[in-house]
């Protein structure tokens, strides 16, 4: 008699009798074929992410109170009288015990009521909602371009090593070392001065400032095309630095994979180069690619702060810089929390995807 594991037994021919069906069901219950821990694990990750968001709330509170003076000092406009200051302190609850202020801050942050912008006299939520679409459009377009171009460059380098690979590595290293704000300025100088030196007609030149052409009242596709034209330079600058970073990581992880013994085995057993690259390599490269996506995001977020400032793109990064300049603390904290939520959410998604792709990492 051969020993058959429950899983193998279950995989045999379909049960023919009622008793066999019941027996099969019993085995399936004891040895489920799907990962029954997937949902609890996701819930635990979700809880972890929520705790992290709460801790970021706490960090902003601590930072605000560790700064010299109290929040009111930062909020009080220059030239206010001491009586006004005292009134503001009382209205902000700064005469309350610290623990109470903290509890109130957490409740307010959790319910999305982040207070009112000092500079714009509007709720922070509304201010951020205004700038979010422009940032999301710029960020998502750049993230996609960063990731696709970066992975393509890195993998191409790993596949064919030689002088071209060395040159490309030098190029990605240099671009990766480039500050986004400087690249943005250099691009503006290059396109604007270059276009006038070469005599490029005005209709072909790419605008280097803002979201829309001033003075034009466009609708529908024309408006979209106008915005897209304004987005070309910011997206290119933002993606270039990110793609260089992604290419560096993608190259080294592809090199590690190409050196694995199972790659040689696959070739030795007769699989074609194409099959090895697209089936064996790609299947194993997916986990590092997911990790890379999560790694690329903070870079794009950080770069967008500068790109939006230099190109006058009306997004959250430019808003953050302006709010810092204006000492508009509620907006600064609101934007910080928004950025933290985006990064935490992306990490949660990447962890979940990783666990699904590679159960060993669950």
């Amino acid at each position: 008699m051969t020993i058959v594991s429950p899983r193998e037994f279950a995989a045999q021919a379909p049960p023919r009798t009622l008793a066999a069906t019941k027996q099969r069901a019993a085995i399936d219950r004891r040895h489920p074929r799907h990962d029954i821990y997937a949902v609890p694990r996701f819930l635990r990750r979700l809880a972890g992410a929520l705790v992290l968001v709460w801790l970021v709330f706490t960090l902003t509170f601590v930072l605000l109170h560790a700064a010299p003076g109290d929040a009111a000092d930062l909020l009080i406009p220059a030239g206010a009288t001491p009586a006004d200051a005292a009134r503001l302190r009382a209205s902000l609850g700064l005469d309350q015990p610290l623990a109470l202020q903290y509890a109130e801050w957490v409740v307010r942050a959790a319910t999305g009521n982040l207070g009112e912008s000092m500079a714009l006299a509007r709720p922070v939520g509304a201010v951020l909602a205004d700038v979010l679409p422009a940032s999301l459009a710029l960020g998502l377009a750049s993230l996609a371009l960063t990731y696709l171009v970066g992975v393509a460059i890195g993998f191409a380098q790993a596949a064919r090593r030689g002088p071209l690979d060395t040159l490309t590595t030098l190029a990605t290293t240099a671009v990766y070392a480039t500050p986004t704000f400087w690249l943005a300025l250099a691009t503006i100088a290059l396109t604007t001065l270059g276009a006038s030196a070469l005599g490029v007609p005005a209709a072909w030149r790419l605008p280097a400032f803002g979201l829309r052409s001033p003075g034009l009242d466009l609708t529908g596709w024309a408006a979209f095309a106008d915005i897209a034209r304004h987005a070309v330079l910011p997206v290119l600058v933002l993606s270039a630095v990110g793609a260089a970073g992604v290419a560096r990581y993608a190259r080294s992880s592809a090199i590690v994979l190409l050196g694995e013994p199972w790659m040689r085995t696959a070739r030795a057993k007769g699989a074609t180069r194409r099959a090895v690259r697209w089936r064996h390599l790609l299947a194993n490269a997916l986990p590092p690619l997911v990790t890379l996506f999560a790694l690329a995001l903070p870079g794009v977020v950080a770069g967008s702060v500068f790109v939006e400032s230099v190109f006058g793109w009306p997004g959250m990064g430019r808003m953050l810089v302006q709010a810092i300049g204006a000492h508009d603390v509620p907006v600064v904290l609101g934007a910080t929390l928004a950025y933290a939520k985006v990064v935490i959410l992306a990490n949660l998604a990447a962890d979940t995807a990783l666990a699904a792709l590679d159960p060993r990492r669950a």
Binding site: L52, L55, V56, L59, T60, L63, L64, A66, P68, L74, A158, A159, R161, T166, L170, T173, A174, Y176, A177, T178, P179, T180, F181, W182, L185, A186, A189, T192, L193, S252, I255, V256, L258, G259, A266, R267, V276, R277, L281, P298, G299, V301, A302, V305, F306, S309, V310, L320, V321, I324, G325, H327, V329, V332, A335, T336, Y339, A340, V343, I344
Partner: protein, 278 residues
């Protein structure tokens, strides 16, 4: 050392040497304003009214850009090196304690590190810079405060593994106290990755200092730093592009060299990986 690494080392040493020696050799005080009208915004390789050659041109006040770039290099390099080394030291300390003590120390320290890592570093920097008075010293403090988490995670993982190795047990068996085992036997073994992280961190810190100074939240003019020099050339970008471009080129060169050296150290540490194409 291959050729790229030798070139990177030489260039980095050259930039550091030029930063230290260059301003002494310069004919004029870099902060001194001279003949503003006659010498302002001269393009690279131009001579001013007095016949002095300006290799990379002059800024809007007629100050020689090369001299200012070298003075700025002192501050930018110092802020970058101190910021990165400080962050690595703090991270190594936190990571070693977390990995050695385990338990509540570990949970607390790594919790704080995770919170710090959940925010993009630049955003954290901006918030800190917004709440404190900007300046070179506060930039260093903020760089250290926002840069230690990655190193702490690295060192903790290393210490967890190394603490189980026979030589750590042997040291304990010979009667060494826990502090001695940790700092004399375990932590030195974990220093390789820290060295790599620090080298890459210097480049990163220089970039971040540049960014903060560009936004007016880092080193304040009139003391020049690469970031605030680029900011100074921002509105001249179509009139006199070299004012913003030149300091940026030097910054890119410096950070690239740091990256090349960091990569080289990492490769050395890991043993070179070579992969045949399939």
């Amino acid at each position: 050392m291959n050729r790229t690494e030798r070139i990177a080392t030489t260039m980095l040493a050259g930039i550091a040497l030029a930063a230290v020696v260059g301003p002494w050799l310069a004919p004029a005080d870099p902060l001194q304003l001279g003949d503003v009208i006659g010498a302002r915004l001269l393009p690279p390789l131009a001579r001013d009214g007095a016949g002095a050659l300006h290799l990379v041109g002059t800024d809007r006040f007629g100050r020689d850009l090369l001299v200012r770039m070298l003075v700025a290099a002192r501050l930018s390099l110092a802020v970058g090196v101190v910021g990165a080394v400080g962050a690595a030291a703090l991270g190594a300390l936190a990571g070693a304690l977390a990995g050695w003590r385990r338990g509540i120390t570990d949970t607390l320290l790594m919790g704080v590190a995770d919170v710090g890592l959940a925010l993009p570093r630049l955003v954290l920097l901006l918030v800190c810079a917004a709440l404190w008075q900007p300046g070179a010293l506060s930039t260093v403090v903020v760089l250290v405060a926002t840069g230690w988490m990655g190193v702490a995670r690295l060192v903790r993982a290393e210490v967890l593994g190394i603490a189980q190795r026979p030589f750590a047990e042997a040291a304990r068996a010979l009667g060494a106290g826990p502090q001695r085992v940790l700092w004399r036997h375990v932590v030195p073994q974990a220093m390789g990755p820290v060295l790599v992280a620090t080298t890459l961190g210097i480049g990163n810190a220089i970039l971040l200092e540049g960014g903060l100074s560009f936004l007016g939240l880092g080193v304040q003019p009139p003391s020049p730093s690469w970031g605030n020099m680029i900011a100074g050339g921002r509105d001249l970008i179509l009139v006199a592009p070299w004012v913003a471009i030149a300091p940026g080129l030097l910054l890119v060169l410096t950070v690239s060299c740091c990256t090349v050296l960091g990569d080289a150290l990492e490769a050395r540490l890991r043993g070179e990986v070579s992969a045949p194409a399939p």
